[in-house]
Symmetry: C2
Subunit: 550 residues, 2 copies
């Protein structure tokens, strides 16, 4: 059969090492800044693979990490898959019970733990759930006090490894990585990434306006335990870009210092991080002038934030979209030919979209009736996707696969979107988070964004509460700083929503709270809101409400 070679991560490692051997990886660790070249990196990747091989890791075995972004974690990104084993990146922010569940579900044989996260892992450790784990390796050169057993440190573990180790032949269909979804309902589900899926995704994020190139200096702030660090650790090596890793618990000052010292021009993370960095920049005035593109994902970025980055930092904050099931990036809010001259609000609106579908990905939007809805900037439906790095199967969860993947291989994302005529997607809501009121949908995300656009509001979350007449009605939980009159502000906010949306989109009840509870990926945890705040009094208030007629 004609064809070329398999698509595997080895090709990217080869390029980083051989063509860009003198480019640097700069890694902030619990021990200070560590820097070395791709050439030294590749030697250590082979030492690691050789040590894992020697220890007994076999093809297809799962090797877990529980760590922040640093060179040790980065070495596992290639060292484990290039050996033919599978890298399972555990989200360190998960509750203990979830950590136990996913280690047990994945049957990890060996676990690399961040020196700063040993205590957290100790707390989550459960003999039965961790039964498959035969070795713990602390990322550093010493082992802190711990009950984990047997345990050694990373530098000792790889010490006898062979820097000239030859990787075995690995099939492109071999699972190379694995992450668990942070589902708001039920237990996390595993998603596996084959070499070929990573290969396609890596190439994709090297294309287009924001594509990573060898002349870039990339700071990957998105944690490497979130969907493979959005694939950026692979793409930096493949493209030969300089790679900056922000280490454990990066604070805005740490990020600013890395940008300033290393001349970072591209970076990626969630809006919360960008808000923090901006605030810090205003106070401390670091030199962030090297920044060109700030990719923002995980949740919507407020237009004000995009404006502020452009005006105050001369950097373009650009939204990207994706999910655990899609490796993750499938959309980037990049320019089109006819938008190149956009400025101000027009440009901000463009950058705030979830984005245009990336090359290789196909999408469609399905309405309630199962038919495709038009791309008209208005019609809503569920986003379905298909492509070489869009999963077609959940791990150990055939029922979830059945409910989420259509017979002809389309992934149901569960996200409600609309698409502009030009192909820019806007995520309006999760299927599960929509408020269904009188047979019509109210987008909780849009009401939240409107509320957060009010000058007094810092955070806002909207959830549905049952209503006898309208099935469901929206209730808002709002965070406001400083003093205010609750009743007055409540009416003001309802009116503020009704200014922009139909009157019946305004929340029937508004509660003021200190902080919106957040999940392990920094997103609002509506489940916690429901558990903590939806009491009988609130239910009664809503059921007795009489929203504006439709």
């Amino acid at each position: 059969m004609p064809g070329g070679s398999d698509m595997t991560l080895h090709q990217f490692l080869w390029r980083g090492e051989n063509v860009f051997g003198d480019q640097e990886i700069i890694s902030r660790t619990h021990d200070g800044i560590h820097r070395y070249t791709y050439s030294e990196y590749a030697d250590r990747v082979r030492k690691l693979a050789s040590a894992l091989d020697e220890w007994g890791v076999e093809e297809g075995d799962r090797v877990a990490t529980f760590a922040w972004n640093h060179h040790w974690h980065h070495e596992t990104y290639f060292g484990v898959p290039c050996l033919g084993a599978q890298l399972h990146m555990i989200n360190i922010l998960l509750p203990d019970s979830h950590i136990q569940h996913i280690v047990e579900d994945a049957e990890d044989v060996l676990l690399f733990v961040d020196a700063t996260m040993v205590e957290k892992l100790d707390a989550a450790y459960d003999e039965e759930a961790f039964d498959s784990v035969k070795q713990f390796v602390v990322m550093g050169d010493e082992v802190p006090d711990t009950d984990l057993d047997p345990v050694t440190d990373y530098e000792s573990f790889i010490e006898s490894g062979d820097p000239d180790f030859e990787f075995p032949e690995v099939s492109e269909d071999q699972p190379a990585g694995m992450c668990y979804t942070s589902g708001t309902t039920g237990k996390p589900k595993g998603v596996e990434y084959t070499h070929k899926m990573y290969w396609g995704h890596t190439m994709s994020i090297m294309t287009g306006e924001l594509g990573l190139m060898n002349t870039d200096t990339e700071l990957t702030i998105v944690p490497m335990f979130h969907v493979s660090g959005w694939g950026r650790p692979f793409a930096t090596v493949a493209s030969g870009a300089t790679q900056v890793l922000p280490g454990p618990h990066p604070e805005p000052a740490d990020i600013a210092s890395l940008v300033e010292n290393e001349g970072v021009n591209k970076t990626a993370g969630v809006p919360t991080v960008w808000r923090g960095l901006l605030q810090y920049a205003r106070e401390a005035d670091p030199d962030l002038s090297s920044l060109e593109y700030v990719m923002s994902g995980g949740s919507a970025a407020p237009p004000k934030l995009i404006d502020d980055y452009r005006e105050e930092l001369d950097a373009e904050l650009v939204v990207g979209y994706g999910m655990t099931e899609t490796s993750p990036v499938t959309h980037v809010a990049e320019h089109r030919t006819d938008t190149r001259d956009y400025e101000g609000d027009d440009l901000t609106e463009l950058r705030a979209h979830a984005g245009l579908p990336s090359p290789g990905v196909m999408m469609k939007v399905i309405g309630d009736d199962g038919e495709e809805v038009p791309w008209d900037g208005e019609s809503l439906g569920e986003l379905l996707m298909k492509g070489p790095w869009v999963t077609t199967e959940y791990f150990n969860a055939p029922e979830k696969t059945k409910s989420s993947v259509t017979d002809d291989g389309w992934l149901r994302t569960g996200d409600i979107v609309r698409v502009t005529e030009d192909g820019y997607v806007d995520v309006v809501d999760r299927v599960d988070d929509l408020v269904k009121s009188g047979g019509e949908w109210i987008s909780s995300v849009e009401v939240e964004n409107r509320l957060m656009g009010h000058p007094r509001v810092a955070e806002a979350a909207v959830i549905p509460v049952d209503h006898p007449q309208w099935d469901e009605r929206p209730v808002a939980f709002v965070v406001v700083d400083g003093d205010f009159d609750e009743d007055e502000l409540r009416e003001e906010l309802k009116a503020y929503v009704a200014e922009e949306y139909p009157k019946w989109w305004a929340p029937d009840a508004i509660r003021f709270i200190d902080e919106v509870p957040k999940g392990s990926t920094g997103k609002f945890s509506k489940k916690t809101l429901v558990d903590e705040f939806i009491d009988d009094e609130l239910k009664r208030e809503v059921s007795e409400s009489a929203p504006g007629s439709r």
Copy 2:
């Protein structure tokens, strides 16, 4: 098994049509300029596929084209493979006997012929060789006088086709395309491209400094019958770039007019074309200010040409490298981080390299002893490559496969190269074209380039001639404009070579000719030189020569 969907061309067509439906394809035809949108293009691609299906083309059938670059040819690029059939692009410049050979070898069932090439195909037609071809389709809306039979015109052929035709499921391993090598020795050999090979190659040429983007306007001058137009017709659709096609026999004036009228910023072709365009620009002064990147491949680009493009046209002429067996692009002379500030000679030297290996491709350079030679800018060896779009098999030619592909899947390119410490490849010669003198190699390409650097020399070709003492000695064929004293210039040129290279690299004999004969891809045809010019007198002159001692 976990995984995403197959990698097929359908995904690129989907993106071009749906996300960039209003981008244009501008096509210069024998009938004038034709323009339509990707949206209209995709409808016609489906009409074509539907018509082929209706006619009886089945999965895996080969459908040939014999055509220049225009929208009809472009429609076959997606229409044929998306149906599950295989597009065989015949080089229209081949001698008749080669055309007969490859049509017979490929067993094409249907053949699309350019309206302007019917006469040429008529001449090449041979009943036995063309036995498999059951239908000829002339690209246009009428059929000129011809013996081809049965024959119809393209517009009639697709007229009843269905613009809503649904493509069948096609495997990524299905051969989608096919081209024949223009080997200097022996008959042309077929190379097949699967959907996955095209997919990987397409993504690759969308990355890096020269990567195609939706905001680009690309003029593909390299003929679409040369290794799939270097993959650019696929990448323009995938990226959503505006696509300009120069049509039959494009002259410099045609090219300049398309650049000027359409605002072309990227383009690709062979050095001969760039030389012609530059000459025309000097005479006619068209507005070529939109040009940014001029990709040059097929053979080495003289530094002077690169300088002139930068200085006179403010465009960056950048060399790329590849071959039929590699889909073709594997190298591009793009910037590295530490070259971004290069200017003048440094920058020109960089752009003149065959380039850095593209992401996904791996290479090594093997010396006479079968061992890898170092990347030191000096050591010579044969270039071997491996990657998802590097073929591992010739069509119908198991012996060629055996001699050209190693057991572990590396393609022997037959090109002698050296590699700088930074990974830039320089092609020094073909294995078959090296002059082996006294056990040492003389690079005919380098001697040619040196000669062409002389202000009097327009073209120069160097070939080996037998020598009793030194095995082989170089002989040069030189084209010089205007009047000159042959003996005087001959000595001057020998001295000129010896200034830069060892004295024994200077040709033992120099013949002045009117033009260097060229093959079907525009490269110097050394075979013709040997046949036409190596006579007894020349042999005697060389055998009696006493080159400078080593």
